[in-house]
């Protein structure tokens, strides 16, 4: 073996040893990092678990207390706590490793309980709890306490080293097994005025109820009626969701969009097109002028632009139905305009189709408002606002400024109380929050 070969072999051996050492060190570090990450993850899961147990314990106790009290003030405070803690318990449980399908019913019960408690807490401003409501609350307390007890029983297994999510130390998920059991519980139906009320499941499109069905060919004719400049019109399918619709794709200007036309009445349910906007030239006012024309062409009359928001040069405009200067906010249609070409690139009329019916809008306008003295009123008008459920409230809208902030405050005309307060947030677009 010559000298050069020996040197080469020695160098190769050194390089090989260095590489092997590096590899081993890297693997050891990587393994340690992974163990640490898994431990941290388990810590996050376990925190959610312990928080959920605590919140459920509190909710059960507080519901019991409400059911034995007779005065509204403490009941209202306790129900506000139940609202918050039920929602937090649901949020914590959703972070744990149970299958979505099993978790659904448990989360639904806790979120509805939270919503219902909020509704009852608000109701206590004017009324007292009925006997039936107190009985219901006691029943819900029983369900919450059962869940809390079973969750608490998992603690022993956790101490033994089992994992909440089942991914590290054991091959089954403690939570999943438990939640699977609770997803088979027959939870009571809750119908009240709130966003999670079971009553909303029965929602129908009121404005379409009396209209006749339209066939697919008739619907295609309507596409050209609503969008005379559309080309390459193609039927692409149907939607059997709550509002049944035919779907058509077509080209309009430089954009390709999809239109949903209701099978009852052939009304525009939605339209959407993707539009790249490189050079926005139109102002918001110019876009609203175009929007006013488009909305009439689509067959919606007596609509007024009530909100304009520019997001990345797409101008979103909310139109509400107006009757006798009264703004009917539940009957809302949204459209979007490309601020480069002025093209209509979107329509969304779900709310209008669900809510628009002839209404009695002759309400008492002799309301006396108690406005905060720091506010400078910009405008006032009468309106109808939707509740979180399916009710509508006759209201007075006051737009007022405090410093640079713009507020929209709504007063219930029957009680003269403030029912909603929104503030305009100017960020990368304009938001009402």
């Amino acid at each position: 073996m010559n000298k050069t070969l020996k040197i080469f072999l020695v160098i190769s051996l050194v390089v090989l040893l260095a590489a092997a050492t590096g590899l081993i060190v890297a693997l050891v570090y990587a393994s340690a990092d992974r163990d640490e990450a898994q431990t941290r993850l388990n810590g996050v899961y376990e925190k959610s678990y312990f928080d959920a147990v605590d919140y459920l314990g509190d909710v059960g106790t507080k519901l019991d207390k409400v059911s034995v009290l007779s005065g509204p003030s403490l009941q209202s405070v306790l129900l506000a706590d139940v609202r918050r803690e039920s929602e937090l318990a649901a949020s914590d449980l959703s972070r744990l490793g149970a299958e979505t399908e099993n978790m659904e019913k448990v989360l639904k019960f806790l979120n509805q309980l939270s919503d219902y408690a909020g509704y009852l807490s608000g109701k206590l401003n004017k009324e007292t709890l009925t006997k039936e409501e107190k009985t219901d609350l006691a029943r819900y307390a029983g369900l919450v306490k059962d869940l809390e007890q079973d969750l608490r029983a998992l603690q022993e297994k956790l101490v033994r080293g089992d994992s909440i999510d089942g991914s590290a130390l054991s091959d089954f998920s403690l939570i999943d097994d438990l939640i699977k059991t609770y997803s088979s519980v027959d939870y009571p139906e809750m119908i009240y005025d709130g966003p999670f009320s079971d009553g909303l499941d029965e929602r129908t499109a009121k404005s379409l109820e009396s209209l006749s069905p339209v066939g697919r060919d008739g619907a295609k004719d309507l596409v050209t009626e609503y969008f005379p400049e559309a080309t390459e019109i193609e039927y692409v399918g149907e939607s059997s969701a709550t509002i049944q619709a035919y779907l058509f794709s077509f080209r309009l200007g430089r954009n390709e969009g999809t239109l949903a036309l209701t099978q009852k009445g052939g009304k525009v349910l939605s339209y959407n097109a993707y539009c790249v906007i490189d050079d926005p030239t139109l102002t918001e006012e110019e876009c609203v002028e175009k929007g006013d024309e488009y909305i009439k062409k689509l067959g919606f009359s007596d609509m007024k632009a009530v909100w304009v928001n520019n997001n990345n040069s797409t101008v979103y405009i909310n139109y509400a139905y107006v009757y006798d200067d009264i703004i009917v906010y539940p009957d809302l249609i949204k459209i979007k305009i490309c601020s480069e070409t002025g093209d209509l690139i979107g329509v969304e009329s779900q709310n209008y189709l669900y809510n628009h019916v002839p209404r009695d809008l002759s309400f008492d306008k002799s309301v006396v408002l108690d406005l905060d003295e720091s506010l400078t009123v910009v405008s006032q008008s009468y309106c109808v606002v939707p509740t979180d459920g399916e009710r509508e409230i006759a209201a007075k809208e006051v737009v007022a400024r405090k410093g640079s902030d713009l507020y929209y405050i709504y007063y219930d005309l029957s009680t003269e109380r403030e029912i909603r307060c929104l503030v305009v947030i100017e960020d990368e677009g304009r938001l009402l929050r």
Binding site: G97, N111, S240, S270, Q350
Partner: protein, 236 residues
Amino acid sequence: MQSNVSQKSRRVPLKVACVIVAVLTLACAVVLFVLPSEGGAEAASVKQGSTGATVRQIQTKLKNWGYYTGTVDGIYGSKTTAAVKYFQRKNGLTADGVVGPKTAAAMGITLTGSSSASTGGSGDLNLLARLVYGEARGEPYLGQVAVAAVVLNRVKSSSFPNTVSGVIYQTGAFDVVTDGQINLTPNDSAKRAAQDALNGWDPTNGCLFYYNPSTATSAWIRKKPVKLSIGNHVFC
């Protein structure tokens, strides 16, 4: 014989070299695979077509310094682009009309967001756009809006968490969270789809689930009645 030895001695280093190269390649591959990457967040930039508070800030600065004569309206149009190019030329920067990190630093402003400032400062919008990009890039635009709408329908449903982040990060809810695709930088289409959904567009009319029938393995989800089909996804 000599000749054989000589041939063998020439072969040994070749074999050793091959082994070394193989080991080193393997080592590098393993190290690269195992060790966490530093992650390369795409630098934020604001360009023509962007709108919002950052654009307003840029226009105000340019106007104060005499580069811009238009209205401070938060809309990055051709006048703003021209003013930015003017500013960039005067300050020895590449005059491309885009406010990236260097131009922003020269202006004394900070660009927010991990992708583009034009996506907006809203955390919900960015997160939703990332989910749409991870779950539905390659789908028709309507299908991307529909995926975003499903997330928002879940937020409104009592059966799911009540926030956008709660729904997206619910354990096991979306594959892109598990496989890390949620961290990819969304494109313009995904951002606009998320924006449409947040502004109220819901092509699904209330659906809470979607899946790809050619890849979905869950028997449970396949039992749900399909309401409509867009691209490769069905919605229920």
